[in-house]
């Protein structure tokens, strides 16, 4: 019973939050609602016994991602109200509704999942974090390491893209200009 109440409550809350996120014209509202929605989602994780995931959700999303977005917002100065031209809302909502209805139609039927044996079953008596640790560092070691590489890539990308070096485009400069620039630099170095 508790589970049901919690489910419906958080379901309502997440839906509401995300609805605000996609509909509001205030970027700040959207960001706040998104953050709230993500925290509510972590509640589901806790309900479902995925404690580690819930923690990660809060840390990574509400912490890291939201902080990044907040920085971005400040940088882009999007606090002012946004005017979005939207030609056909009907199409947008229509498509989404159709998609939702279709999937719900399929999902409304019970999934034939009875005879499924868990490949990595949860062990009684072990905490969720422990279990995840074991699976992550055995079976999912390679994806994990690759995820590390991915984060590195993201980092390098972020640095490169946001870096000062991008302000001057060698692509758009003619070769003569580049030569002059290099000479200038050398002069600076020498002097």
């Amino acid at each position: 019973m508790f589970e049901a109440i919690a489910f419906y409550l958080f379901a309502f809350l997440t839906i509401a939050m995300f609805y605000i996120t996609v509909t509001t014209s205030q970027a700040l509202y959207a960001l706040t609602a998104l953050a709230a929605g993500m925290i509510f989602i972590s509640a589901f994780f806790f309900i479902l016994g995925a404690d580690f995931l819930g923690a990660v959700q809060i840390v990574v999303y509400s912490g890291a991602v939201m902080a990044l977005y907040a920085f971005g917002m400040m940088f882009f100065d999007t606090t002012r109200e946004l005017k979005e031209k939207n030609g056909n809302k009907l199409l947008v909502t229509g498509l989404a509704t159709v998609a939702a209805v279709l999937i719900v139609v399929i999902f409304a039927a019970p999934i034939v999942g009875d005879n499924i044996t868990a490949l990595y079953p949860m062990t009684e008596g072990a905490g969720n974090t422990q279990e995840i640790g074991i699976v992550l560092f055995t079976k999912y070691l390679v994806p994990f390491e690759l995820a590390a590489v991915m984060l590195l890539v993201a980092m390098v990308s972020g640095i490169v893209l946001a870096g000062k070096k991008m302000d001057l485009s060698l692509t758009l400069m003619s070769d003569a200009e580049i030569r002059d620039m290099k000479k200038e630099k050398k002069k600076k170095v020498l002097s």
Binding site: I15, F44, A50, L53, T78, F107, A118
Partner: protein
């Protein structure tokens, strides 16, 4: 009333659809990125739920990696936005259609 897997899946689907709405109607790139986060998060709920009902950890692993991916995407996406904003002082995607046809 028992909350079954289907409840979670339906919820996930609804959230996913909300995400789709966001993706389609947002013209501000930053807020568009928010919508993509919604997409990934909605799937995470489903993964966690399936994982729970099957008693299998794989779903949680997937959700974990999805979170990692979402985080990396944010970094790169924001990087791109920064570059664009530096040049054009705007992040409205309607202004971004020099190439077409």
């Amino acid at each position: 009333m028992e909350i079954g897997l289907n409840h979670y899946l339906v919820l996930s689907t609804i959230l996913f659809s909300i995400g789709l709405v966001g993706v389609m109607r947002r013209k501000n790139l930053l807020m568009l990125f928010f919508a993509t986060e919604i997409l990934l998060n909605s799937v995470n709920i489903a993964f966690a739920a399936i994982s729970h009902y099957y008693g299998d950890l794989t779903g949680q692993m997937f959700a974990f990696f999805v979170i990692a991916i979402a985080a990396s995407e944010v970094a790169v996406g924001l990087g791109l936005l920064v570059v664009w904003h530096k040049r054009h002082n705007a992040i409205d995607l309607d202004l971004m259609s020099t190439m077409k046809g």
